[in-house]
Symmetry: C2
Subunit: 708 residues, 2 copies
């Protein structure tokens, strides 16, 4: 008998590749469609403003902004604006930065910029006499670039331009993307083709695609990117050496023109592997010296290099534990080397025992990050940031927020999301994650009393962090549509917008994205909006219930497998038996995990009465007959949500097919294909999960639906 079914099928299905063909149109353009405007009123209004563009400054980033404006305007309006050095025309757009020329400074109150971060900007329409000026003024040139993208967004979403008075200031200093790309061209947890950065262990020469990626990222405010997988293998270790730095510099050049700093993920054992030292002990002077030299060389190639992203002592990656050093020792030696250049060390907190004995119920993986890092609060240098996954486990469809947020007042923290849908349908299922991320960002840790939300921690305002922000694992590859599932483009878009402003509502973001991506037909806007907004809950419904997570096939993590990780070393268990299910993480008689939260969260989770239904099994082991707040028993909730989830998945398809004719065929068909697959696989989830729990509990469905 050959292979493993689920994996084999899985790979087979993945073979349906979709690789990039340049200028492939709508799929490729994502939300930067810039489609010709057909409504004459809008056309007239925009034409008035956009016929003339004044740009006095000349810099890489300003040029990117100018180019994007020209591209967008000419595409939407059908003519090329005149680019002028002086504002002679009656109505025109002026692009630039504050404090550079009187031309702009004279037209605006400079005080408006005082409280802006470097990336902030002002968009304003001012009328002086007969002259109408639409000002796009950045605090720096990056701000000007963001302002240009903002204007194009306004036009794509059909907003009036005559009375604009916008001040925008990004909430988060770092708005980052992590590529989990390997140099062999594969992408760890990538579901949209191969890497756009690498092939055959070399850096790609197809830089046009990287430039388009930079445009997409910059358009939503991303300002940093780590361009290789956090699991740094042998070849990738050499990205920090002169063998690859000239090519890394080419990539950094592209991103720099779009206001994005380039980072590299590094191998903690680099001093051994490429430095030929006998050790990577961070307290060893030769190791310190080695890092210093390495960093110096990198900055010779890339003067604004961002720094390093480090996965150390995690899932068999090397780290300071090997030398009996802690993570502060480990991070600081590298931070010291980077400090003179303004570089950062972004140090991941995803550290846990991945060789756990499933028999051992006292060890709790959920506790690991807090246990490892909390005692080190204040020990890290200022240019170190701890990167913390949103939940304590690993990007499940539902997890509580990591208790490490807010627990380290004196240590820079940033939040890590996963845009790529590793556990949320792998871009074969629609699962719009913005609502999930909003919940995380809005979660109140009570670290400093009320309003100690996660977003205020990671934007630095709660504890005045010097470096902080949000990062996420990218969901793009070289598929024509970047993200495999065309609707998964919304996750990349929404992520970027949230890093800029976590207070944006899911609905606002969704509406923006749909209009830019699919246009303004009311039915399209309504139906796709509903599809997106409902999709996370739908996916949750037919997959693992009540916050317990996992229940996926090991390795590739696609498809249902209730016991997939139950007898494994990974610390991810559900403890289902014929009586009940769940992990007792209480202080009273469980693993004590709830004690890692600040009150009142600690009490809310500790108590079976107050623990929210959707996280019940994460915190408590209960009988199948336990009544939820909804009034249903746990077992009936499992049955109901799984039957509902499939019907809802079928509903997604109905909504989509109602749009036939209103969406170009290529995108219509490709999304329809994925929705059909989603329905089929949702049924598999439903039947496996329901059958598993029916067989285990012996409790029949109250509605007598088919369970096997």
């Amino acid at each position: 008998m050959r292979g493993e079914i689920s994996l084999e099928n899985y790979k087979e299905n993945r073979n349906v590749s979709n690789e990039y063909v340049p200028n492939h149109g709508n799929e490729y353009a994502c939300w930067l469609q810039y489609n010709k405007i057909k409504e004459s009123a809008w056309m007239e209004e925009y034409k008035t403003w956009c016929s003339n563009l004044v740009v006095v400054e000349n810099s890489e980033v300003i040029n990117s902004a100018k180019a994007e404006l020209l591209r967008g305007i000419s595409s939407m309006l059908g003519f090329n604006p005149s680019v002028l050095m002086e504002p002679q025309q009656k109505t025109l757009i002026m692009l630039g930065t504050i404090g550079k020329t009187d031309l702009l400074d004279n037209r605006i109150n400079k005080q408006e910029f005082e409280h802006l971060n470097p990336d902030g900007y002002v968009i304003k329409t001012v009328t002086v006499g007969e002259h109408n000026r639409l000002l796009l003024i950045g605090k720096t040139e990056k701000g000007a670039l963001y302002a240009a993208f903002h204007l194009l967004r306004l036009m794509q979403t059909r907003k009036h331009l005559h009375n604009l008075d916008i001040i925008q200031n990004p909430k988060n200093p770092l708005r980052m993307i992590n590529q989990w790309d390997n140099m062999d061209g594969s992408i760890e947890r990538g579901y949209a083709g191969k890497s756009i950065f690498y092939e055959n262990n070399k850096i790609t020469t197809r830089l046009d695609r990287i430039k388009d990626y930079a445009r997409l990222l910059s358009s939503v405010g991303i300002n940093a990117i780590a361009i290789n997988n956090v699991n740094v293998h042998q070849v990738e270790t050499k990205l920090t050496t002169s063998e690859f730095l000239p090519d890394v510099a080419k990539i950094a050049d592209i991103f720099r023109a779009y206001g994005i700093r380039t980072f590299l993920s590094i191998n903690y054992a680099s001093p051994i592997q490429i430095g030929n030292l006998p050790t990577a002990d961070p307290l060893e002077p030769k190791v310190r010296e080695w890092w210093r030299e390495r960093v110096e060389e990198i900055y010779r190639y890339i003067p604004d290099f961002g720094g390093f992203l480090v996965k150390a002592d995690s899932e068999h990656r090397p780290g300071p534990f090997t030398y009996n050093r802690n993570h502060a020792d480990g991070a600081n030696v590298i931070a010291e080397a980077l400090n003179p250049f303004g570089g950062l060390v972004i140090w991941r907190c995803f550290v846990y025992n991945c060789l756990q004995d499933w028999r051992d119920r006292s060890t709790d993986r959920a506790k690991a990050a807090y246990d490892h890092f909390k005692p080190l609060d204040g020990k890290f240098l200022d240019n170190v940031i701890l990167q913390i996954k949103n939940g304590p486990m690993d990007f499940q469809v539902r997890e509580p927020v990591s208790p490490l947020f807010g627990a380290m007042e004196n240590t820079n923290q940033m939040l890590e999301f996963q845009i790529t849908q590793e556990y949320t349908g792998q871009q074969r299922h629609l699962c719009y994650l913005v609502p999930q991320w909003k919940e995380v960002l809005d979660f109140d840790t009570f670290a400093k009393g009320e309003e100690s939300t996660v977003k205020r921690i990671v934007d630095g305002s709660l504890f005045q962090y010097s470096n902080c922000g949000i990062t996420a694992v990218s969901n793009i590859g070289n598929d024509t549509n970047w993200t495999g599932h065309t609707l998964a483009q919304a996750n990349l878009y929404g992520y970027g917008r949230l890093t800029w402003d976590p207070d944006l509502s899911s609905e606002e973001i969704t509406d923006e994205w749909v209009r830019q991506t699919f246009g303004h037909d009311p039915l399209v806007v309504e139906q796709i909006g509903k599809m997106l907004m409902d999709s996370w809950r739908i996916y949750e419904n037919y997959t693992s219930p009540l916050g317990i997570g996992w229940m996926v096939n090991p390795g590739h993590h696609y498809g249902p497998n209730v016991d997939g990780y139950e007898y494994s070393v990974w610390g991810t268990y559900h403890y289902a038996d014929c009586h009940g299910i769940g992990v007792n993480r209480t202080v009273k008689d469980g693993t004590g995990y709830t004690g890692q939260y600040f009150p009142p969260n600690a009490q809310i989770y500790e108590s079976l009465e107050s623990c929210p239904d959707e996280l019940l099994l994460f915190f408590h082991h209960v009988p199948y007959t336990h009544r939820l707040k909804s009034g249903k028993t746990v077992i009936q909730h499992i049955y109901d949500t799984h039957f509902d989830g499939v019907e809802q998945a079928e509903g997604l398809k109905q909504r989509w097919t109602s749009l036939k004719g209103k969406i170009d065929d290529a995108r219509y068909d490709s999304v329809l294909k994925r929705l059909n697959e989603q329905i089929e696989h949702a049924r598999e989830w439903r039947d496996v999960i329901n059958t598993y729990f029916y067989r285990k509990s012996g409790i029949p469905d109250e509605q007598n639906r088919t369970i096997y």
Copy 2:
């Protein structure tokens, strides 16, 4: 989170490679140790006989026999015998074939050879006057070669030579080995390193190792080998073309000198893939012509080419079903092409729906081979043989015998075993399979009344098959000791011996093997013998219970995973719920599988009362509280066997360590290492299986042992 634990650990452990270093000594020599004889009495006796060797004939195979005798004798006795053309000395060995020269013919009654198969032989000590002759006379030169190996076995097992009167006749015409080697050097289901036949998509140039393999095989009577995997991938498809045939011919040359015919596994779609035909439809004249031409070319390179082994319409391999033809159509077109040259088509019956819906309880994979092939009885050409796995599923630790044996009176059948331990511990666990194979061979099908045993079916005696025999998947690779686990050499040895004579007892075979491999210390012979003889039952005890099978990790099939295949497409389910477990395969209210057996087997399996305990769950779904014939409940049996199994595995180690000092360090240490691993993994099996069923049934262990 990265990868899959079980698979990753699995691979890691496999990395402990052991690759072949020429002349590496005892591990490499297997049962052809030919160690120096230290007992002076034996030395004297053997010296008398072995000082002179008369060989008149001169042929490849006779030369192999002569060379082996010289090698064995010189190694065991410390001198090189004189090789003579005439029997002048008083006492000597004479080697040759009957009917070739008066020299031998005059010394023996030729009638003794009349009833011998071509591979038979006579070994006889005759005394005429002062002259003592030890005659090794084959019916053909192959017989002479087997006689030579027999003599060496007698000496290695310390048998007297002065009164020999042995007539040996192999029971099975075909005594075959299947290599599941791929040309990239990997071996499907190989657990002893890489292929000795291929590397980097080429045929190896290290032919010395292949010659040693031929010696090992020939020494136990193997006379046929298919040298590539039944799953024939792209490169391997070209083995039948002039690109590779010169190199295939070199391998065939080596095997020919040891009486072994070479076969190739073929891709049924070859006419398309290498013939550039639009179809592989067996009834298409161009396809027929293509096969004819292909076969002709092969025979130009290899005049005694054995034929083709075919896996068609099985697990996604191409076959006649594509063209709405049946398997007789499919096989016959190739058989026709081979017929003029005496070539065979060996056609595997491992055909089943491998995209089954787990929800569907009416389809039964166990029924598939019978359902597919039984209706075709008599439709196959005479040079086609159906190759049937011993059980209806796939080489599980315990299965019933396939009901196809005996069900096709007019169709040649042969039996397929699996020496490589895919489901029986992968040569990391000790699992001596000879007792299992004996059970299969001795199984009475009642196809033609009593004594219609499997062995009499496949040896051709029951239905006078024209071509038939036994084959098995090899367990060797390029590890120094060939088989990974040194004690797994016994499986290869025992397999060969059983193909020659299925009536040999497990005890005889075991004793032979231990003495030849480890010498004659009584403790060594006793303890290793017991280890081997107990090991199958021990492995069964701590793995899947009562004939249900599977419960392994999907894909690589190592380690426990009760639900591993439960919700898969492979048709391998246990249907455990909180009340009971097992597959109802009765005619009365199950899948009807029991009806495929002849009476009384059909009735025995049909009835819960008469069904043997060890196959109970294969045939019946019963509550955990069902009482076995042993008096235990099913659940208590599961607990007890699993606790026992681990203790017994620990007992294997105790036996082995009692032999320290009596076995060379290299073999002692390597076996000890594996026994330690076996214990560790047996505990994992015990705890996972017991925990699974305890959690599912809620029934505690009567003895209150630890279950998690």
